[in-house]
Amino acid sequence: MIRFVARRFVAFVLTLWAVVTLSFALMHAVRGGPFDGERALSPAIEANLNARYHLDWPLWKQYAAYVGPLNWDEHRARILGGDGTRLTGGVLAGDLGPSFRYRDLTVNDVLAQSLPISLTLGAVALVFALVVGLAAGLASALWRGSALDVSLRLFATLGIALPNFVIAGLLVLTFVFWLPWFPVAGYGSWRHLVLPACALGLPFAAYVARLTRTGMLDALGHDWIRTAHAKGLPPRVVVLRHALRSGIVPVVSYLGPATAGILTGSLVIERIFAIPGTGSHFVNSALNRDYTLAMGVTILYTTLVCALNVLVDVAYTWLDPRVALEDDA
């Protein structure tokens, strides 16, 4: 178990490093800096800003400063002749740097404010997707070929076929204008979360429904199901105790990509419903070349997805006693 976690951690660090380096490279490959879009600045102020944020340093130095061994002003590492109060900083120390856009805040500040909101939204959407998807898929598998099955599958395919902002629009049309049940935008009470979570989670619910249906149909075709029936077990027990365990394995595998998808989808949904989450920050920061914020969000999301993937792998061993915790070739 320890070896497994250790190996995964190393892979995670490597991934993170790749992400940081790649995004750093991409960001700096674009001509222009974060202050280009503003009203014309006098050269003196511009030079000042650049110096403050070390944009005048050579690229390798900027990179090293961001990642860790070097550091921002006040706490410069001893190597560079700073006062040496901290040995290292940067990403390695959890400091994602200052935001270029929001001058008085660091990236950590911005994320601390917006992340809980996004996480809540994402979690609700994920739970919604799982609950609705599992129920629909189970019903489809058990009453296979019935009108219920056909209509559920139709809805599921629709959910996969429409972009989530269209679904959001349709939801708003129905539940805000036609039936005034929910507020149209903003963030405040639980009511504000319902429609965004639905819009965000529906495509994934559809996919989970499909996976559950196929998984259960597969599971119900196994020989041990026949044995269970031959033993005289009631159908409910056969499905829930004997078939479900192996039937939901594809859904568990899907949790990783689903989370990643929900995080990506939130970029759009947060914009539509004016939710002050991390997603909306990301798009703006990429477009405005607010390097640190964009990279900070990317790093965060990568961490989340990696963590979830590890959890999924652990969940496998709990689900299927034949699987041992190992990295396969």
Binding site: T15, L26, A29, V166, F177, T264, L267, C306
Partner: protein
């Protein structure tokens, strides 16, 4: 079937061979095609998609209004059904830059239909542009993007996966490790970065290399989607290498190229086809996602993604121009639905195990 009288003498191999030669079997492709045809929903989906493709390809020939002619003072007009008004005059041949074939088709259309264009069967948008025309012309862009991106991912993915599977050993391990690493990167973010860069270098790329922004668009999407294809192909190649029928063929003296083309390629092809059909919808959705963020197709060109965005924008408390959502949503939904249904049908048809389970029993 005739009833030859066998004697119960020791096995008569020659007679058995004669009997076997007489039996007419079917190849896996014929079987698959037949299985697909039997699946009525999937067959319908196939013909529907063929229809969509035809309409899309022949768009310049159809008597549709211009998709880009602006009438900025107009309010969005609700749909006028075809039975109310079928054709009306007022056609203006305005488009974005068309290729030579399309230009030729437009001139044919003008000689055929002259001044006439279809009435606004699906309504117009806030800039006076006909929605039906935009949907039809948008299909070209969307389908084009989807095709190019999928083909790119196919090229990269199949090559990578097949090489890894065939070479095996450490090379395979390393190649797959790269795939795993790339898989865990939050690609959407990197694509967004990439496209912002492309925006920044647009002049250089277009001017110096003549590369269209759209081409870069396709390539960058394709570069994101090749990973799954690579994994799938590699898995298939690996299992085929160890498959008994390959071993049997080798025992019978088949040469390696023959094994490759007669046995490995057809099996890999089937799974590639299935993934192709299933990844086109994903790419189309991704394009609409990027268009929503302002990073996708740029006006005056039109794509379904852009239309969907316009539609989403049209939903506000002041006036609900429902047709602006309904039209593109319906177009997208039906096409993607058809693609998904077809992909599922193909997968069922090409998987021999699935077919055996549905019909037979073992005693």
């Amino acid at each position: 079937m005739s009833a030859p009288r066998w004697n119960l003498a020791p096995s008569n191999v020659d007679a058995a061979l004669v009997e076997a030669a007489g039996a007419r079997g079917t190849g896996p492709w014929t079987d698959a095609w037949r299985a697909l045809r039997r699946n009525r929903v999937a067959s319908f989906a196939l013909w529907f998609l063929v229809g969509v493709g035809l309409v899309s390809a022949l768009a310049p020939l159809l008597p549709l209004p211009s998709p880009v002619a602006l009438r900025l003072l107009d309010q969005p007009a609700p749909p006028t059904p075809p039975w109310t008004s079928f054709l009306e005059p007022g056609f203006v041949p305005e488009y974005w830059e068309l290729g030579p074939i399309d230009r030729a088709l437009v001139s044919v259309r003008q000689s055929l239909f002259g001044d006439l264009q279809t009435a606004h069967w699906l309504g117009t948008d806030g800039k006076g542009r006909d929605l039906l025309s935009r949907i039809v012309w948008g299909s070209r862009t969307s389908i084009g993007v989807a095709w190019m991106a999928t083909l790119t991912s196919l090229l990269i993915g199949v090559t990578w996966g097949a090489l890894a599977g065939l070479l095996g050993g450490r090379v395979d391990a390393w190649m797959m490790r790269v795939v795993d690493l790339l898989y865990s990167l939050p690609f959407v973010f990197l694509v967004i970065f990439l496209i912002t860069i492309v925006n920044g270098w647009k002049d250089v790329l277009v001017g110096r290399f003549g590369i269209d922004r759209e081409v870069l668009f396709y390539v960058s999407i394709g570069a994101v989607y090749w990973l799954t294809m690579a994994r799938v192909v590699r898995g298939q190649v690996l299992s085929l290498r160890r498959a008994e029928f390959v071993e049997a063929a080798r025992q019978m003296g088949a040469s390696t190229p023959r094994i490759l083309f007669a046995h490995v390629v057809p099996n890999v092809l089937s799974i590639v086809i299935v993934y192709l059909t299933l990844s086109i919808p994903a790419v189309m959705l991704f394009e609409s996602f990027l268009s929503f963020l302002g990073l996708g197709i740029e006006p005056p060109r039109v794509s379904w993604g852009l239309l969907a965005v316009d539609g989403a924008d049209a939903i506000n408390p002041l006036r609900v121009d429902w047709w602006l959502v309904a039209g593109p949503a319906a177009a997208m939904a039906t096409t993607l639905l058809a693609l998904n249904v077809l992909g599922d049908g193909l997968r069922d048809a090409l998987d021999p195990k699935l077919r055996a389970r549905s019909g037979g029993t073992s005693t």
